[in-house]
């Protein structure tokens, strides 16, 4: 049986030593970093590339920009090239313009002499450089802060409502035996079956009838009662021993108090999960806000983000920068909340 110290269950070699299960675990995790995070990292890099570099084949990991040089007599900086063949081999020249297969170039040290170079003979000098304008443009282009505020408002309020409403329902569905419980549960799970994409139009009609169009509430309220949340929390709450609730009842706790002081704290891991998910859902929502919100002052970041996708062209550089920017807040939220997932009640207060 050798090293049973259980790969699948143990929590690190009791005595701080690494055993094989730890090696396997770390190996797996590192592979995860490569496969899962590698592409994300690349996204991050790409957000610092200019449009041409983004479109470039084959793609390069680091963002490069062409080096330029100020040459006397020319208004704009000129691009620098190394000449690798032909007459001027070995020199470093700045290009004035290119006409067909021939480039007109100049040696920065002798600005007056124009040289003609075959375009195949030159090689651009590039260095790693961040196209920060992808980001700065965003702030110039739209009221980024306004959109940020709208997104934040929607996300925070909708998440708060979702957590509250869902956990209440989950409590009801997990800790009470009552007639209609299974029906309710089936309805909850049943409404998962129909994706929002499918009911967009009816949902729009309902929302319109309630006068919530063009208001942030039109985005917040319809999404609040996610069946996913109810289901997720309910299943978690099932694992909380009923005896603790009994104890609270003997302590003359009202049912509300039991919910608030016992069930909620004990469900923190599941609630953290739902909070994270809800934040992401609301923050990334696109289609529904697009229908509900037609006026720019109500726009969310996602709508702004998508406005880089035009009819015929997409401005990837800005879109990626915006993606990264919109990613940051939720990444922070995640990082903050994830530790609560690990606060499971390892040992109950019972025997």
């Amino acid at each position: 049986m050798g090293k049973i110290a259980s790969f699948l269950t143990a929590t690190r070699g009791k005595n701080g030593r690494m055993d094989w299960t730890d090696w396997v675990s770390y190996g797996y995790l590192l592979m995860g970093v490569l496969v899962i995070f590698g592409p994300v990292l690349w996204l991050l890099m790409s957000s610092f590339k200019d449009e041409a570099e983004i479109q470039r084949f084959p793609p390069r990991f680091l963002p490069y920009t062409q080096e330029t040089i100020e040459v006397e007599g020319y208004d704009t900086p000129l691009a620098l090239y190394d000449i690798v063949a032909g007459e001027f081999e070995g020199r470093r020249l700045a290009q004035i313009r290119r006409v067909g297969l021939v480039a007109q170039m100049v040696d920065p040290n002798e600005p007056d002499v124009r040289l003609k170079v075959d375009i195949a003979d030159r090689e651009a000098i590039e260095s790693v450089g961040l196209a920060t304008e992808n980001y700065t443009e965003l702030f110039e282009k739209f009221s980024f802060l306004k959109f940020f505020w709208n997104s934040t408002f929607i996300t925070v309020v909708a998440t708060a409502i979702t957590l509250m409403v869902n956990s209440m329902a989950a409590f009801g569905l997990s800790k009470y035996q009552f007639r209609g419980r299974n029906v309710m549960l089936m309805i909850v799970v049943g409404s998962l079956m129909v994706p929002q994409t499918v009911v967009l139009v009816p949902l729009f009609i309902v929302t319109k009838e309630l006068g919530m169009l063009n208001s942030l509430w039109g985005v917040i309220i319809p999404a609040a009662a996610t069946p996913t949340g109810v289901f997720l929390l309910r299943q978690y709450m099932l694992t909380i021993p009923d005896e603790i609730l009994d104890a609270a009842r003997m302590d003359k706790a009202s049912e509300w108090k039991i919910f608030w002081r016992i069930i909620l704290p004990l469900s923190v891991p599941a609630i953290a999960v739902l909070a994270i998910l809800s934040v992401i859902w609301r923050w990334n929502d696109f289609l529904w806000p697009l229908i509900v919100l037609s006026e720019n002052e109500n726009f969310t970041l996602q709508l702004a983000l998508n406005s880089f996708q035009g009819e015929m062209t997409t401005k990837w550089s800005n879109l990626l920068a915006m993606t990264v920017l919109t990613l940051l807040p939720i990444a922070c939220v995640f990082f903050f909340l994830q530790k609560y997932i690990a606060t499971g009640i390892a040992s109950t207060g019972g025997k």
Binding site: I4, F7, L8, T9, A10, T11, R12, Y26, Y28, L29, V33, I36, P39, V40, P58, P59, M164, A169, F171, G172, Y176, M184, I187, V189, S191, M193, V194, P195, T197, V199, P202, L203, V206, L210, I221, A225, T228, V230, F231, Q235, Y236, L238, T239, E255, F259, P269, A270, V273, I280, N284, L305, Q309, L327, I330, F334, Q338, I341, A342, A346, S347
Partner: protein, 297 residues
């Protein structure tokens, strides 16, 4: 036990208004025709939409069906879900277990695995398109290693496989997180007892972890199945359903028929969504049934 309804009320109200009513309206749409958006403007069509969708000479050959794309999408979705749910649950369970260990830099690793969930589908698709393009990163790599490049996006089976991969990649973190929370809820002393009982790692997993994880597992299975069937955004942005219709999934069909198409055949789309929902209900009920022992703790 009246109080229970007080706890349920807010949710029930929201549900009724924003899930039930729309779904009911959607149901009504399924029996109308035309391209008008408002229900009132649409002529009643009886079961015509359902008939149209189900008219096939040979149900195994989509080409013989009146709505061939619907059937292709249905077949694709079946395969897609079977593969995707399997890999998804497997990998997220494995990952959750590893992340549940007392490892160093836990928060960092958790974040890593969760990161893709935060990305919008468009971006997910974009990233992987870059990697898989004819002269993308992967091929550059393969060629560097002396293999031949593959035109991943042009070969039906590869495009399909990568679509599965992509959606697992994008959503695995979600299920991992749920499972992680579920693992945390398993009392530690039960593991200690198993340790004293000399249970091997595998048996501890099989006999302790899995059964005690059952309520959570049900969440994961049900959600994975439902969301799997509903996969759309990222695959659509990735392949557009191609090559041809190789990766056209059912929601894409519904979306293109009813929402983005021209004319907008809401009725047909609604009918397709009802057929889909029926299938899902059956599958979910089966899962609940299989899990019935463990559902109520």
């Amino acid at each position: 036990m009246r109080v229970v309804w007080l706890f349920l009320m807010p949710n029930v109200l929201l549900f009724f208004t924003f899930a039930f009513v729309p779904i009911f309206l959607n149901f009504l749409y399924a029996f109308t025709s035309g391209d008008q958006i408002m229900l009132g403007d649409r002529p009643y069509a009886g079961a015509a939409n359902f008939e149209s969708l189900s008219r096939c000479r040979d149900y195994l050959d989509p080409n013989t069906c009146e709505r061939d794309i619907f059937w292709r999408a249905l077949f694709n979705t079946t395969w897609f879900v079977a593969l995707q749910v399997g890999f998804m649950v497997g990998f997220s369970l494995l990952t959750a277990i590893v992340l549940n260990r007392d490892i160093r830099a836990r928060g960092f690793f958790r974040s890593v695995f969760f990161f893709p969930v935060m990305l919008s589908p468009v971006v997910v698709a974009l990233i992987w398109k870059w990697i898989l393009l004819r002269n993308g990163l992967l091929n550059a790599w393969l060629i560097g290693l002396g293999f031949e490049g593959v035109n991943w996006m042009l070969e039906s089976s590869w495009a399909f496989a990568w679509s599965v991969f992509l959606s697992v990649w994008a959503h695995m973190g979600f299920y991992t997180l749920i499972l992680l929370a579920g693992l945390q809820a398993i009392p530690r002393d039960v593991y200690e007892a198993a340790l004293m009982d000399r249970a091997s790692a595998w048996r501890t997993f099989r006999r302790i972890t899995l059964p005690l994880l059952a309520p959570t597992m049900l969440v994961v299975l049900v959600l994975a199945l439902i969301k799997g069937v509903q996969t759309f955004d990222e695959v659509y942005a990735f392949t557009g359903g191609g090559p041809g219709s190789a990766t056209t999934l059912i929601i894409q069909y519904i979306y293109e028929t009813g929402f983005a198409g021209s004319p907008r055949l809401f009725g047909l789309a609604a009918a397709a969504s009802i057929i889909l929902a029926v299938v899902l209900v059956v599958l979910t009920a089966a899962q609940f049934w299989a899990n019935r022992r463990n559902i109520d703790g």
